[in-house]
Amino acid sequence: MNVLTAPPHHKITVAEAEKTILVALIGQPNVGKSTIFNLLTGLNQHVGNWPGKTVERKEGSFTFREITYRLVDLPGTYSLTANSAEEVIAREFIIRERPDVVVALVDAAILERSLYLVAELVALPAPVIVALNMMDVARQEGFEIEPEVLEAALGVPVVPMTATRSEGVQELLETVDRVARGDAYVDYAPKPPRIRADHQEVLQEVEILIDGCVPDPYPQEWVALKLLEGDHEITRMMQDCLSDEEWEAVHDVLRAHDDALVAVASGRYEWIGRMIRAAVTRPRAGQIGLTERLDRWATHPFWGMLILAGILGLIFWLTYTVGAPLQDLLDVYVVGALGELARTGLVGAPAWFTDLVADGIIGGVGAMLTFLPILVIFFAVMGMLEDIGYLARAAYVMDGFMHLMGLHGKSFLPLFLGFGCNVPAVLGARVIESERARLLTILLAPLIPCTARMTVIAFLAPAFFGSAATFVSWGMILLALVVLALSGVLINKTIFRGQRAAFIMELPLYHLPNWRTIGMRVWQRSLSFVHKAGTLILVVSVVVWALSALPGGDVEDSFLAHIGRLFEPVGRLMGFDWRLTVALLASFIAKENSIATLGVLFGAGDAEAGGLAEMLASAFPASTALAFLAVQMLFIPCVATVAVVRQETGSWRWTLFNLGFLLVVSLTAGIAIYWLAHLAGL
């Protein structure tokens, strides 16, 4: 019998039509969730974070048959056991917010595995609709799926669809509408999986022990199941709710059956097996698909590396041929023109005010805007590689190497692209699922020598070292990378206590990129950069500008110079005078600022003219020069990087830790290099 054509349960009332209906979208990773989310909501969506978490929260709305629906995109998760923040967020939302409908997206081509999440969902008290996505891929792979049979077996509505071609969207909306109305749901009768037969008694035992003590709104049987699965959050919750003796009794049972997790999971797969035997036939199995053929190259230890290197080369080429000129254009025609405009517009105003607007504020806005071309390219490329399915392969190829530093294979691409600019490197860490590896990647990203730092090195190294400049520059890059690796090992061993990030990751099927999904992602990420990081960049830029311009308008007598003099004793450990210290401080707005500041402080006029180089070379010995270059390389990053570190870690504590760490590391390295060079007679 078709669930959907059963007699209506009750008619929709006016009051119900006016209230918005809450729909949750959930699915395992790589099932096309964003595509469907974008299809349904279009531009009616906004992106934020889940409260207190660094997990992205997408919410949008759409109207269907004059009813407004609020659609919440839950994080992609393989299960609902508290392995990660994503899983906790997803299940807490369903249990606490009680969405009117839960749309569970399933990959028809990997039906057996992707129904695992559904097996968990049907045990929760919210009506589920299974959206059977990627029907086209399933057909190509040789599966024949009968949605009606699956529907009858599951006891919940099943809607076949191919989101990339917008097929099945209308049917999905109609089904959501019916379920939300409570219509036809006399027969909404999910048949949740049961724990494997040999553990059914244990489950009952636990249920009896916790009977009446489970806090609202958690379903009792579900809590018992989660206890047996060893779920940390639920275990802690029940430990708090039960008296010591009661908990002791529960704990004894759990300890005697610490293999129960496998029984619970097996029970779910047995249930899935029954569904699949009923609804799926696979007449031609075992043929080699496109994915297998591509993976022979993409995941090969040698060819895979070569392909990755090629892709990285292409990204850098794109950044320099498209991004850099765009950056210049923005700098000259937008920021420059705005500055001019402000100066002419403020002719009568006091000089300090004109400077504040033209140099401080517009300069700050410019500092932020010029990041955009690079960021857009980066987001587009990362989005495309992720959407195609290549990102997982790159991670696979690089995992062994990255693990040495306590990182994940997925850390490689963002970190490597940090050679262009650290900002996208930090933002790119989002692709890493493991929270710890993600945090470590963010903390280490500022140690990658970015283009701006290399510009400074490229200017200063020839000034100090003449023909040995190339050697020194490469030495500095090597230094930064060695420090990065050592810091990774150190942070991993101490703060994360050497817990190794386990490597287990799905390699999704390759498919053609969905430009709409990628476009939306680029748009949202860029917007959120301007919105969140932009504010901080602007404020800090204005403050540092004010420090360097006040009270007199010259850097030499500015507050910044005073601060530089204050820190002179630290600088002297490396042979710095206050001017080098001020140059370092000024590089906080943008790394290139060091050179301009040195130019002003040494009265060399135009820094690029060459006068500065000679002055510097005659003013400092090689040991100080080496130390200065090293500190410049490892020093706290520019404000834009700090802003995104704050944005992505969601915590000032980690941001300050990162700054403190880099400060200590850079100064230690600087002092060590100075004395070593000094002792070597340089």
Binding site: S79, R113, V262, E292, D295, A392, E506, L509
Partner: protein
């Protein structure tokens, strides 16, 4: 080619007791097995189960170069596993 020969030799050597459980990491590219035991820590066990690894699951090795991570097909999905993780999944070879 050579690895295929070696795998045959391996199988021959084990043939009397081919019901023995072996770590997944010892299976060669193209070989199949059925999971019999997961010896991972509890937290890892949950992740592995949600990705398809439970006792009774059929596994096919899609890539194993003898070192570094390997790729297995389990329950219709391709999953990459670290060598350490794969060493704690015990399987029974099936032909």
């Amino acid at each position: 080619m050579r690895s295929r020969n070696r795998s045959r030799a391996h199988k021959a050597a084990l043939s009397p007791g081919s019901n023995d459980k072996v770590p997944l990491s010892t299976l060669h590219t193209g070989e199949h097995g059925v999971v019999v035991e997961l010896a991972n820590g509890r937290c890892m066990l949950g992740r592995m189960a949600s990705l398809g690894f439970t006792p009774g699951a059929e596994v096919t090795i899609l890539q194993n170069f003898g070192r570094g991570p390997l790729i297995a097909r389990v329950r219709g999905a391709r999953v990459a596993l670290g060598r350490g993780e794969a060493g704690r999944v015990y399987v029974r070879r099936s032909i």
